[in-house]
């Protein structure tokens, strides 16, 4: 099929979706192409979910400017989009006197970057903010926060969609050609998209997309970070983010514990350069190291508290022998009119995403006259809280109104049938089990779907008419089942 747009965004990560949502404020025909079956399936669902405050980046860099701006935008954005965000603050801990100059440097740099509320605090205050934390002094940054990165990405996309941006999922870009003055994008599925402005927000694949238009100066070095997810039993253990004072030229923050907005704790990420940007495997040596580290940081940990592993890859612009980070590349290419290029949006990309979107839309305005759309609605419908988080009276009212709230499908996370159905009817039309998981949390708990997957299967078959072949874990290449056992109708099997 042929599609024509004014603006075409390549990549449905948090950055692409934020750009889509920012564009949806205007009267513009815009679309987003995503190669996976859902948005946010790359680095955007595979990170610590931390909103950084912005003291770590050199003054005047895009990372410093956009992170501070993005962080400040998050309260309104998350409120409007019904995304959970908690400003729990962060302690960057100096373990001894030797680390102290680093704290002073970070405080000075943060102040210059416009980070609000930074303080170097003593051990007593540190321990009042996070019980049990050891160290000499700490830099306290009250605006550091946690957010669900995939919920934010999905919410940005849904709100953009509601305001008129088209989302084309499962569309992998195969070739880009110049049809002066427009761009023509052909996808692996055989569809053609034309646009006046093309935005490259393809994250780990940014350099590949660059090469499709003849830009050769960028290279992405995927750097994998592995994590463990810990059981919600430990919810409440961490009341703030606690990071060790950073070391020079380290590729990331170092391994640390991060609480999530849903009450889990993450341990990770590690750092390992790879050739394959989508090698999300977890490896035995790294896993053993993470477990040892976890034992040290959380002595009360039990074997059964490890409920899952995952890994993500950072889109680094620097090879391992160089290390460290480079600033974001966000450019309106003079040599390629209408090509807005984003390269190396690794950390703090999540925090910066709404600010990046503003900057990119500013660049789009160099090419198109964008008029505000008076119909733009920044608010995403729905509820911020899950059913189980509501007070009992409210639960009872909801059940009385809609019996599907009374039926629990996912036992560990107490997710109701209503919430599962709402998730599967999501506006983007994402239909994989991972899509369902990221929206409804079903199967994310300690039994990892052992209880709810058969129930979800029954629900989708009986009420939505799904066949066994319709159940995909992540996409077309990950079928969950091979078919029916017997040709007879499903559903009779459990009329015992």
């Amino acid at each position: 099929m042929k599609h024509s747009y004014e603006v075409l965004i390549i990549g449905g990560g948090v950055v692409g979706c934020a750009i889509a949502r920012e564009l949806s404020r205007y009267r513009v025909r815009a679309a987003l192409l995503e190669k996976e079956a859902d948005v946010g399936m790359g680095a955007s669902c595979r990170n610590s979910g931390v909103l950084h405050c912005g003291f770590k980046y050199a003054q005047g860099t895009l990372r410093a400017i956009l992170d501070v701006r993005g962080n400040a935008m998050m309260d309104d954005l998350c409120r409007d989009l019904k995304v959970k965000m908690k400003r729990i603050g962060k302690l960057t801990v100096a373990l001894d006197e030797e680390d102290e100059p680093m704290l002073d440097h970070l405080k000075e740099q943060g102040d210059a970057n416009g980070v609000p509320g930074l303080e170097v605090i003593d051990r007593d205050r540190m321990q009042r903010i996070q019980a049990g934390v050891e160290g000499y002094r700490a830099l306290y940054s009250p605006t550091s926060a946690i957010v669900s990165p995939y919920n934010l990405t999905i919410a940005l996309a849904e709100n953009a969609l509601a305001n008129g941006v088209d989302f084309h999922l499962g569309q992998k870009v195969a070739a880009i050609t110049r049809q002066e003055p427009r761009w023509e994008v052909r996808t692996a599925a055989g569809d053609t998209f034309t646009a006046d402005v093309l935005v490259n927000a393809s994250g780990l694949f940014a350099a590949d997309v660059c090469r499709m238009v003849g830009i050769r100066e960028y290279e992405i070095y995927p750097c994998r970070g592995e994590y463990y997810v810990l059981d919600r039993r430990l919810d409440g253990t961490l009341t703030a983010l606690v990071y060790p004072a950073p070391k020079k030229n380290a590729p990331g923050w170092g391994t640390h514990l991060t609480p999530t907005v849903d009450g889990n704790i993450l341990i990770g990420p590690t750092a390992e350069y790879l050739d394959d940007p989508e090698d999300f495997a977890c490896t035995s040596d790294v896993m053993a190291r993470l477990r040892r580290e976890c034992q040290r940081l959380l002595p009360s940990i039990r074997q059964s508290d490890y409920i899952r592993n995952f890994a993500g890859t950072r889109a680094k612009q620097t090879p391992p022998e160089v290390g460290g980070n480079k600033d974001f590349v966000i450019e309106d290419r003079k040599d390629l009119k209408g090509f807005v290029n984003l390269v190396g949006i690794e950390s703090p990309g999540l925090t910066s995403s709404p600010a990046i979107a503003e900057m990119v839309v500013g660049m789009v305005k160099n090419h198109l006259a964008l008029l505000p759309d008076p119909a733009f609605n920044p608010v995403r419908p729905g509820s911020l809280d899950f059913f189980w988080e509501l007070p009992p009276e409210e639960k009872a009212e909801r059940i009385a109104e809609d019996p599907d709230y009374g039926e629990i499908i996912c036992r560990c996370e107490k997710i109701t049938k209503r919430e599962v159905i709402d998730a599967i009817r999501n506006p983007l039309g994402a239909r994989t089990m991972v899509s369902l998981k990221y929206r409804a949390r079903a199967s994310m708990g300690r039994c990892q779907g052992g209880f709810c997957i058969p129930r979800i299967v029954r629900l989708l078959r009986d009420e939505f008419g799904w066949d066994p072949e319709d159940f995909l874990k992540r996409g077309a290449d990950s079928p969950m089942f091979v078919g029916n056992m017997r040709p007879d109708k499903g559903g009779q099997a459990h009329e015992l």
Binding site: K414, I453, D477
Partner: protein, 421 residues
């Protein structure tokens, strides 16, 4: 809110049983037959029977009914007694929370209820240990299931999970599923077990693996899972004495399905929420010789208390718990009685109950730490005096040992110790 009544329905029952599997069914009937007028059985599924419903193989009831029944048939023996016994059933109903003063928040289609219970019997069963809990490295493709989830999909939902399967863990569900998949035309490459012995019942090794020429590799585990979309292969390796994989023994086994049968975990979220003290070894509550937990009026039985090998023993235990819960309500006994500790000694992984009163006969349940032949299980009191001994030809960690003990043991308050000699 003042103008309208609270939407939460509040009810009272003498005994509330949480879970309608083998434990809950037997406990509810026993409590009712012991004279309790109001016995409420709460089941989260739409049918009673719990995990028995997906266990369509036979072998249930050999002790309880002296015949080989399938799981659903075994459940039916109890379910059909419910109306006659006068047990009230709420199915499709889940307990969201339980307080230490025995108030349950219960959710069902159309109603949220608060149930005040005179006594609560915990019978929630157990769940399967997952890949995450045993930290198997590799990708996370489709095609990796716990054995019980696969059993549910196959036997209850008519869904075939794969064509070429490997099974990690030789627990009974894994063994049963090896046979089940074979009968359905899948090729089962092998069962791998990290321990030097199988953790399943010997009869299942024979009837599910040997009879179908499915190899069992002991001292072997999965070291890698390969496949970004659907599972393509696993790597397995032999392990050394510390259960660490030996790299030079690693080999690739192509398969599209990996079933995990790597242990069961009693499902005690409600128990912990109610403030019940737990046994770190069993993963269940600490109970006395009436199956009462440390919280007065809260009882536990079946797999939520400790993982059983046979459903028959679950039923026996639950009947006892049901009777004691009924007695608790009728006698309104609140005072904790004497609690003499019973401890696991040499060669014993755990014992149950963990405390006794000395006032009544009881069944001591235990599991041993390793397989042995021709040993004796000995119960001694605090002074080292032998109270009971049972000579056994064959002891195996997969099999629960049950030893009746007469009242009077531990009556002097000195702790008992159980060991293998």
């Amino acid at each position: 809110m003042n103008s309208k009544a609270s939407p939460i329905e509040k009810i009272q029952r003498e005994v509330v049983v949480i879970g309608g599997g083998p434990a809950g069914l037997a406990a509810a009937i026993a409590a009712r037959e012991a004279g309790c007028k109001e016995v409420l059985l709460v089941e989260r599924d739409r049918i009673l029977g719990g995990i028995l419903n997906q266990c369509i193989h036979d072998g249930f009831g050999l002790h309880a009914f002296k015949e080989a029944l399938s799981g659903p048939e075994y459940a039916d023996r109890y379910i059909r007694r419910l109306p006659g016994a006068g047990v009230e059933v709420m199915d499709n109903t889940i307990v969201l929370s339980l307080s230490s003063d025995r108030v349950l928040e219960v959710s069902a289609r159309g109603a949220l209820r608060h149930v005040e219970a005179g006594a609560v019997i915990l019978a929630m069963g157990c769940r399967e240990r997952t890949r995450g809990a045993i930290s198997i490295p590799g990708h996370r493709p489709a095609g990796v299931y716990t054995a019980g989830a696969a059993q549910n999909l196959i036997n209850l939902e008519n869904i075939m999970v794969g064509r070429r399967a490997c099974i990690l863990g030789s627990g009974d569900i894994g063994l049963i599923m090896a046979r089940r998949l074979t009968l359905e035309g899948a090729r089962v490459e092998a069962v791998f077990e990290i321990l030097p012995y199988s953790s399943g019942l010997p009869r299942n090794i024979q009837q599910c693996l040997n009879d179908y020429n499915i190899p069992l590799f002991l001292n072997t585990t999965v070291t890698d899972i390969i496949g970004k979309g659907r599972l393509e292969a696993i790597r397995v390796a032999q392990v050394d004495g510390d259960r660490v994989p030996i790299p030079e023994t690693e080999r690739l086994v192509p398969c599209d399905t990996l079933l995990l049968s790597v242990g069961l975990i009693p499902e005690n979220e409600l128990t912990v929420q109610a403030g019940v003290a737990m046994d770190p070894v069993t993963g269940g509550a600490l109970v006395d010789d009436t199956f009462m937990t440390g919280v007065p009026g809260i009882f536990a039985c079946g797999n939520v208390l400790h993982v059983h090998d046979l459903a028959d023993w679950v039923s026996v235990e639950a009947e006892e718990a049901g009777r004691f819960a009924a007695a608790y309500v009728q006698e309104r006994r609140e005072e904790p009685r004497r609690r003499t500790p019973v401890r696991a000694g040499e060669g014993v992984r755990y014992v149950l109950p963990q405390t006794i009163s000395g006032e009544r006969d009881f069944i001591l349940s235990l599991r041993v730490t390793a397989p042995w032949r021709d040993r004796t299980v000995v119960i001694r009191d605090g002074g080292g005096r032998e109270i009971r001994r049972k000579k056994m030809m064959r002891l195996h960690p997969a099999e629960m040992i049950r030893i009746p003990v007469k009242k009077g043991a531990g009556a002097d308050g000195s702790p008992l110790e159980v060991s293998v000699e």
